[in-house]
């Protein structure tokens, strides 16, 4: 297995880089930069189904499940949101469903982005986090289901 940083390690790295900024302007400049660098999502994934509800801007989020790990890709028509997504992806992508489900995501508060978690209609970060965790839950359920399937089949084979 590749040497993947733990969720906590990535969070710590983000908190570290944000501690270097003295002003909000610099923080936002950094986030905007991340947003601009996030690769655009393939148009075929920009479907109604992949839209995250609860955002003033449009956010599309998809996830793939490979070798027990979840890989997210996302896009938005607003660049600050895109920067926030970029951070969430760097923290959560490539981890197991259980790790994603358990992730406390303290870095959002630590870097002072809690306003984006506020329960106003305009902020989508809360909805994005929720959607990412839903994907993890779904993949975990799928995995358990397939283990059960295997188990059943094995029993069946035995009984033959």
């Amino acid at each position: 297995m590749k040497n993947v940083k733990t969720i906590q390690e990535t969070e710590a790295a983000i908190i570290d880089s944000f501690s270097l900024f003295d002003s909000w302007d610099d923080k936002y400049e950094y986030i905007i930069d991340l947003g601009k660098k996030l690769p655009a999502l393939d148009e075929k994934h920009k479907t109604e189904e992949n839209k995250v509800r609860g955002c003033q801007s449009t956010v599309w989020l998809t996830a793939d499940y490979k070798d027990g790990r979840v890989y997210f890709s996302a896009d938005s028509d607003a660049v600050i949101v895109k920067g926030l997504i970029s951070m969430l992806i760097s923290v959560l992508s490539g981890h197991t469903p259980q790790e994603i489900i358990d992730a406390p995501l303290d870095f959002i508060r630590e870097i002072g982005m809690t306003t984006h978690l506020a329960q106003t209609r305009s902020n989508g970060l809360r909805a994005m986090v929720k959607q990412m965790k839903h994907y993890a839950l779904a993949f975990q359920a799928m995995r358990q289901h397939s283990i059960n399937d295997h188990g059943n089949r094995r029993t069946e084979t035995k009984s033959h």
Binding site: W24, D25, Y28, Q56, T58, A78, S122
Partner: protein
């Protein structure tokens, strides 16, 4: 002694001192509040009046025989009298207190609407309505098998009047139209529209949520059948609004909510209802905020509605001219008659990003669809950035808005 009438001199800097919240800082910068179309800030007299009510004469109204109840009742009814004068209603019984504009519209939809709209009937609204003046009519139409007709809007943000005239017919039961668009600032020619509707035999409800703070409202001259507005957009408290209805229309309407205050006599066999306006004011109302609403209306009168309008008009012109100099910026809504708000979009920039970056500079604007999604669809945009001005805003604040916009665009593009 000779007293002469003095015209109050409008001094925006003196006026600002009356609004405590304008002294605060946001993100380390002085607050620049440009979201007045959503709600206005409150002057100290309004805030003080709330404290005076709760510390001096808090009581339930209309029923009590004791001193506090008498004082509270008198203050509550004094607001009704002031509101009557403010919108030039013919009688105090035509002023019904609600929770706000939305409740006023729903009250009419649920009472007058259910009694007077039937299968095949039509209700006319416009493409620039707030969701609050769309959804109650949709619900009614669905329930009754009636049709909702929509007056289209042109590129400048004005209603297409020829289309309106064509929509009117003997099937039209009601025209529900906003006086001023919350997303564009357009002032609609409601008087002319009401005349046409009445000729077709329809009643008219005017949504005054955005107009009452800016324009002189004369419901008798306008000849509307219903008029609704909210106190919180009038420098007053949240949770109070006025529904005006012509007396004979209100009298013929069925009741809305049942409960205390709205009844005359209750037996298990039959209940007889109270007279206007109490017939529509079931339960203990929002006494404190209704009482304080008078203070807000008095504040506007004392500041001078004409002076405020003049000042706001200057702000509108100044902001429009300034915003036009920003490359890639397009103003949405260029009606000839507008109240003091500017809605705009910027090339390659999402309104939300601008909203976040302006907030970072202490500037409060509104971004998004402004609860007018059909109107945004009309212009093919996800939303706009809206700066809306009140009596206490200054040209210096607009300069700061411009600076903030220019810096934000540089960062985003």
């Amino acid at each position: 002694m000779i007293t002469t009438a003095t015209i109050p001199v409008f001094d925006v800097y003196a006026l600002r001192k009356q609004f405590p919240v304008l002294e605060r800082e946001v993100k380390g910068k002085p607050l620049i509040y440009l979201d007045n179309a959503a709600t206005s800030q409150k002057p100290a007299v309004v805030i003080d009046a709330l404290v005076q009510y709760y510390t001096g004469y808090n009581a339930n109204i209309h029923r009590g025989i004791h001193t506090l109840a008498e004082e509270a009742t008198a203050a509550f009814e004094a607001t009704r009298e002031t509101a009557k004068h403010f919108i030039h209603a013919a009688g105090r019984e035509e002023i019904i207190f609600t929770r706000g504009t939305t409740e006023g519209i729903n009250l009419v939809a649920y009472t007058w609407g259910r009694a007077n709209v039937g299968k095949g009937d039509e209700i006319i609204i416009s493409a620039m309505e707030h969701h609050s003046n769309i959804v109650p009519w949709q619900i009614l139409c669905e329930e009754k098998g009636a049709q909702l007709k929509v007056i289209p809007v042109d590129d400048a943000g004005e209603l297409i009047m020829e289309a309106y005239e064509k929509l009117l017919s003997d099937k039209t039961r009601l025209v529900a139209i906003t006086h001023v668009s919350n997303a564009l600032g357009t002032v609609n020619p409601v008087k002319q529209m009401i005349r046409s509707a009445h000729k077709a035999g329809a009643l008219v409800l005017v949504d005054g949520a955005q107009s009452t703070v800016h324009l002189d409202i004369d419901v008798q001259d306008m000849d509307c059948d219903f008029f609704v507005c909210s106190a919180h957009k009038l420098y007053g408290p949240t949770g109070v609004g006025v529904l005006y209805g012509k007396k004979h229309v209100l009298e013929a309407m069925p009741v809305f909510q049942g409960g205390g205050e709205m009844i005359k006599e209750v037996t298990f066999e039959k209940t007889t209802y109270n007279e206007l306006p109490y017939k529509y004011e079931a339960g203990t109302p929002n006494i404190a905020d209704t009482i304080v609403f008078k203070t807000a209306l008095d504040f506007i009168e004392q500041t001078g509605k004409e002076q405020i309008r003049q000042h706001e008009h200057e702000l509108l012109q100044y902001a429009t001219a300034a915003l036009e100099t920003v490359p890639g910026l397009k103003i949405i809504g260029r009606a000839k008659e507008k109240t003091s708000l500017v809605s705009f979009v910027i090339d390659k920039v999402h309104p939300q990003d601008i909203g976040i970056l302006l907030d970072n500079k202490g500037i409060a604007v509104r971004t998004g669809h402004h609860c007018a999604q059909p109107l945004m669809q009309r212009y093919g945009i996800p939303g706009t950035i809206r700066a809306s001005f009140a009596a206490y805003n200054t040209k210096e604040e607009i300069d700061e808005l411009l600076l903030g916009l220019e810096k934000s665009i540089k960062l985003l593009v």
